[in-house]
């Protein structure tokens, strides 16, 4: 084994001890492996080498190997990490390295878990609400107004924060009521967005996302590979925004004495039944496990709200072969790669008159 590995210049390869959790929903255990490690490698490299040698059926999820896709989350020596960003040089040579799947989500096999909890929570979070009376293309924002939200856009959805959060990690029963840090920063991102038209995001975060469950112990911030200050810049400001409306002691006292004061919160709490947000334009009520909801009605609805200033061609699905599949095989396909999402007859740069965007002031015809 390892005979055809390129021997990196510098230190020779070493043998390291690994303990990897193998199993599925019927149970499993930690199994020992001895594997070769070269200079400059990361944990994911070692897992790939194991797949190529001792454990060809070892399941793991990965994609970019550059810390940008968020697929390769696992727990390495008990710490939630991206395996493609965990350097082998951070371990001593005689250290046994334990690799386990994310603990908080249901297991599929070996290092692969079912993270659909997060996608459900994502769908429940109300989307950006376009400001009334402003057409897309007319949105104008200043950098200082959007930079707080931009920090949260760095999220790569690795769900390490969702996995480490003790609210659901240690208490499965809280999964219904608690959306998790990744969706708190989503709520914060939109609440701080200068053009977002919803003004009930604070109440929503408190009543539907379970913001109150978070006890700001900051583990989400500790594990975030994008170094987003989830707690300081997202959760705490959201809690403070809730305080503005909800925890003013005088209001609380008044509501206890006069049984009033519920008014600002009911709009959100009473809408609670299926967990979906009902005002989110028809599509929000659907919970398809396959990803986005392919609801033609909703897509039509979404396009109606957009004023492109001109006739826009409708998006068309790419051509499929007679089995209903994309003809992706190079051998049978007439092009060098997958069909272009812009249409195969489109070349770049586009002639300006084919652009969908029209500047409101400069493009007056």
């Amino acid at each position: 084994m390892g005979a055809n590995d390129p021997q990196a210049a510098g230190k020779p390869a070493t043998k390291r001890q690994f303990r990897i959790w193998r199993g599925d929903e019927n149970g499993g255990d930690l199994q020992d492996y001895t594997v070769e490690v070269n200079e400059g490698e990361v944990v994911l490299d070692v897992i790939h080498r194991l797949q190529a040698t001792d454990a060809p059926d070892l399941a793991c999820r990965w994609n970019c190997k550059a810390g940008k896709c968020g697929s390769c989350s696992m727990e390495i020596n008990g710490k939630p990490k991206l395996s493609c960003m965990t350097r082998m040089s951070t371990f001593t040579e005689d250290e046994t390295i334990t690799v386990t799947p994310l603990r908080t989500f249901p297991i599929i096999r070996d290092l692969v878990t079912d993270v659909s909890f997060n996608y459900e929570k994502a769908r429940e979070t109300p989307a950006f609400a376009p400001p009334p009376g402003v057409a897309p293309g007319d949105y104008r924002m200043q950098q200082i107004d959007v930079e707080r939200s931009q920090e949260f856009r760095k999220c790569i959805e690795c769900f390490l924060c969702q996995n480490v959060c003790h609210v659901v990690r240690d208490h499965e029963e809280n999964k219904t009521a608690f959306s998790g840090p990744r969706y708190f920063i989503r709520a914060a991102e939109l609440d701080m967005h200068p053009l977002d038209a919803r003004n009930d995001r604070k109440e929503y975060a408190q009543a539907e996302q379970g913001l109150g469950f978070c006890n700001i112990t900051k583990c989400c911030t500790e594990v975030c590979p994008e170094h987003i200050k989830i707690t300081d810049n997202g959760i705490i400001p959201m809690k403070e925004r809730v305080v503005d409306r909800k925890y003013d002691p005088l209001v609380w006292l008044g509501s206890k004495i006069f049984r009033r004061g519920q008014v600002p919160q009911t709009s959100v709490t009473s809408g609670h039944s299926s967990g979906a947000v009902h005002s989110s334009g028809g599509a929000g009520g659907q919970h398809s496990h396959a990803g986005g909801s392919h609801d033609p009605q909703a897509e039509l609805q979404a396009q109606k709200g957009v004023n492109w200033h001109r006739e826009v061609p409708h998006p068309t699905a790419p051509a499929v072969d007679d089995r209903g599949k994309l003809p992706l095989t190079e051998l049978t396909f007439d092009r060098a790669a997958a069909p272009s999402p812009f249409g195969d007859d489109v070349t770049f740069p586009l002639p300006p008159e084919h652009l969908n965007f029209a500047h409101p002031d400069q493009d007056k015809h």
């Binding site: 939630p80 297991i107 079912d114 109150g212 809690k239």
Partner: protein
């Protein structure tokens, strides 16, 4: 809040789908228990020390140099030793069981207990919820800060307003400490200790998350409020160090109080630089 939500894989009828069967409480190999242990020791020491001092009712004022410990400021009972009642004695006599620091202590204690930094420190080290990241907590159930008593933590804002007033009182005390025995300008080691304590307290109060919020964090459009944006930017810079300020000011308060106690009890003498 406990109404059934969407049918996620984890809430399907028939119970949750199993997670990976890993029995160990944590697989962390580093010394994750060290940090919470140290913090717990510090917090417990401070709680015990300040409780003893609050009920001691003596050795809180050095008449010669006008040093007043922050734990007894403002002292507004007629029982306060002469000179220590900088704001008069509007409340008259206190019954014996009410400590002299009754005005400031609940505010300052409430401010610290509900502080976002101390919440993290306390939940982790004193309540083990969780003791460290990716280490299982021992508690059977968990509702966080969603209900009484812990939702009271959300009142931090109001403790912040009150604590800012107490800070002003402390600053006034510090100014008075710049006097010698004859009433003229004077500086001693005690004055400097009190001054350092004020800087630490001011840093702690100004870097507070609630302060950051009221200064500008609550705004949606920074561009329309340039002054508040500048304030917010300034507080945000301090806010990054909030934990450091929190711990530093804890120690400077103890140090100041201990120094004043030692002088007042006559254990040693103040080191005077001027007058």
């Amino acid at each position: 809040m406990t109404a059934p939500s969407a049918t996620t894989p984890t809430t399907r009828p028939g119970g949750a789908r199993p997670r990976a069967a890993i029995a160990a409480r944590t697989l962390r190999t580093d010394r994750w228990w060290l940090q919470p242990l140290i913090i717990a020791a510090i917090l417990l020491f401070f709680i015990v020390y300040s409780t003893i001092r609050i009920f001691m009712a003596k050795w809180y004022y050095v008449e010669d140099y006008h040093y007043l410990t922050p734990l007894y400021s403002p002292c507004i009972s007629t029982e306060c030793v002469p000179g220590s009642a900088h704001f008069g004695t509007p409340l008259g006599d206190f019954p014996f069981f009410i400590p002299l620091g009754i005005i400031a202590f609940p505010i300052v204690a409430g401010f610290r207990v509900t502080c976002y930094y101390y919440r993290k420190a306390g939940y982790r080290s004193l309540w083990a919820s969780p003791p460290a990241c990716a280490v299982n907590e021992p508690h059977k159930s968990y509702s966080g800060e969603t209900r009484f008593p812990l939702f009271v933590m959300n009142w931090h804002r109001y403790f912040f307003y009150l604590a800012a007033l107490i800070l002003l009182v402390n600053i006034y005390d510090a100014v008075l400490a710049f006097r010698g025995p004859d009433g003229n300008f004077g500086v001693g080691l005690g004055t400097l200790i009190i001054l350092v304590n004020i800087v630490a307290l001011a840093g702690y109060t100004a870097s507070c998350h609630a302060c950051r919020h009221v200064m500008g964090g609550r705004l949606k459009h920074f561009s329309k409020n340039p002054v508040r944006y500048r304030l917010w930017t300034f507080v945000s810079k301090l806010n990054v160090r909030h934990g450091t300020f929190a711990m530093t000011s804890l120690f400077t308060v103890i140090l100041t109080d201990f120094y004043v106690m030692a002088l007042s009890a006559g254990w040693f003498d103040d080191l005077r630089f001027i007058n």
